[in-house]
């Protein structure tokens, strides 16, 4: 209850407002600027002579006859085969999310309902696994995968991403399952349900908020991953993020920077829309482990 004891002076309020505006500018402006620039030609967005060209669209007007152009998008999606990369990303994301939720809910439910010591140690082990840098794991995968000839294909990457994702999913779902009272299970068990039936028909229906949160985080991991997808997939099967990197070019061949700019926008837009809708779940997920645990 706010009794109005905490009186803020006007100068403090002004300072606070200014701070928030400055911070939001720092946080959001780069994205707005990239979005704006993706509709220009390269000579405008990366202008050697005058940065104002990016706003006045000097070269875009000369080259395309309009102030805005969608050439970069068109070329990247067709010539640059970004459509293939986004198709791969969709496949990887759907499978990673569904498999890791399936494995994660089962495992986390068991962990939350066990009173033994080993449940505690398994959680600690998951924490240690969570700390492993992904690139060190990839350096362990490459050689065996080459030998088994399963390198470069989507299923391998999906399984690897599911596994890498498990520790975090387990911790997150564990803290959610803990909030579901045990009495619910016990009454179902007394009524003659098996453990699996209890899990399936009694616990899962009340767990949807937690499952959605965990699903969102799996989705963000699979969608955003660079380390695993760049090194475990061949050129043909690349997902969006490694594809963007390949547009940047290397010392050997020149890339196409405007493709990269437009692809960055294409890849980020769905994520932003998703977050806009599920903001509450993401925040509750990030804090679940910290506040309750």
């Amino acid at each position: 209850m706010d009794y109005g004891l905490d009186k803020k002076t006007t100068s403090l309020k002004t300072f606070n407002t200014i701070f928030i505006i400055v911070w939001l500018l720092i946080a959001c402006f780069p994205f707005i600027w990239t979005f704006w620039g993706s509709f220009k030609v390269r000579a405008d967005f990366f202008s050697r002579s005058d940065w104002w060209y990016a706003i006045s669209a000097f070269n875009t007007l000369i080259e395309t006859g309009g102030k805005f152009t969608t050439n970069a998008y068109g070329q990247a999606w067709t010539e640059g085969e970004f459509w293939k990369a986004s198709k791969n990303t969709v496949i990887v994301t759907i499978f990673v999310v569904s498999i890791s939720l399936f494995l994660g809910t089962l495992g986390a439910y068991a962990l939350s309902r066990s009173t033994r010591n080993y449940a505690f140690w398994l959680l600690i082990l998951a924490l240690i696994f969570r700390a492993m840098p992904h690139i060190t794991l990839v350096s362990g995968y490459l050689f065996p995968f080459f030998e088994l000839q399963i390198w470069g294909i989507l299923p391998t990457t999906i399984v690897v991403l599911v596994a890498i994702n498990q520790p975090f999913t387990l911790w997150l779902l564990y803290s959610f399952f803990k909030t579901v009272p045990r009495e619910l299970d016990e009454s179902a068990l007394i009524d003659g349900c098996s453990y699996f039936q209890t899990f399936r028909h009694i616990i899962m229906p009340v767990m949807w908020p937690g499952v959605i949160t965990a699903g969102l985080f799996s989705l963000m991991l699979a969608y955003n991953d660079f380390t695993v997808t760049a090194l475990l997939l061949n050129q043909e099967n690349h997902t969006m993020v490694p594809k963007i990197q390949s547009y940047l070019g290397t010392n050997q061949h020149e890339g196409n920077l405007m493709w990269a700019v437009s692809s960055v926008v294409s890849a980020t837009a769905p994520l932003f829309i998703l977050v806009m809708f599920f903001q509450r779940q993401i925040i509750s997920g990030l804090t679940a482990g910290a506040i309750k645990g």
């Binding site: 600027w33 990366f46 089962l106 068991a110 449940a119 700390a131 492993m132 362990g140 090194l231 990030l286």
Partner: protein
Amino acid sequence: MPNKTFFWFFLPTGLAMILFIGLPIISTGIQSFYAQHDQIVKEVKKCDPFGCTVSIVVDNEQTSKIREAKPLGKFNGFGTYTDRNHLAVGEIKKFWNETESFSAFIDQVTNLPFYKALIFTLTYCLFVTPNVLLLGFIIALSLNAVARKIRGPLIFGTILPMIVTPLVGSLVLFWMIDSQGIIGANIQNLMNDPYLSLKSSKTLTWITIIIYGIWHHSPFAFVVFYAALQTVPQEPVEAAIIDGASRLQRIKHIVLPHIYPVVTFVALISLMDNFRVFEPIIGFSAEGSAQSLSWLIYDNLVNEEVILFGSAAATSIMTIIGIAILLAPVLIRTWKEFRIAR
């Protein structure tokens, strides 16, 4: 829950983690003791009317044959760990004996690839983590004071840097800071120095990557602190106001002690994440002046001629040891708490 039921419930996730996290770590360990085969050379005698010359060429057939027979490479023991690209024991000894002053010695050592990367990684952790905590906390306090109605969109704006992948985040910043981008070009104009650019200076590159790190990670700290601030009980705060405590005093003596466990949690997570810094180096194309441990591994794995499995594995194992050292205090504390709780 009976052990048997637990086993069946946990089996799928446990199997996934053992197969794809546990085994790879062991596989990395084994690989680190092997090195790729040397190329087999043979002498070829070439005779022409003016006499015979003997030249040495690579025997491709033999080389690929031995590579197929022993794909793991030749056993190298701790050789990879001590070579020039890793701990560089021999080089350090040499520098110690040859250099005159201590600073010259340090200078030489920090030019070795592994130590260079280690120093960058540690510097990055050391600057990013505390600043992330501080900035995240200030944003949380500041947003907490705003009217509830407009908080939603403000939070959305705040968490944007966190939800994009580091590669995209660093690219978006790089395109602005680059000498042809909006900020870079204006700084050039302002300083009147057409050659001033990110790539021209090592210090500037490091500062940029650190600023990127703070930009990217602060939203995470913000979200957790913001949620924790909602749980601070109002009564002690009100009592403090009546007793005449200033705003700073209230934060220091009531709010901070209450959210202290969360602060350690955020510090731990962001330390773990910062230690694996790697994508921003690619995004900023800063390979020339900033290399991290993870980047060294990546560089070995994308090597054009032959993938340096052994070298990558040795760096990986040392990175894992680094992570273990970072995690040790937390694990020891958890273990002690667990023993007391029993």
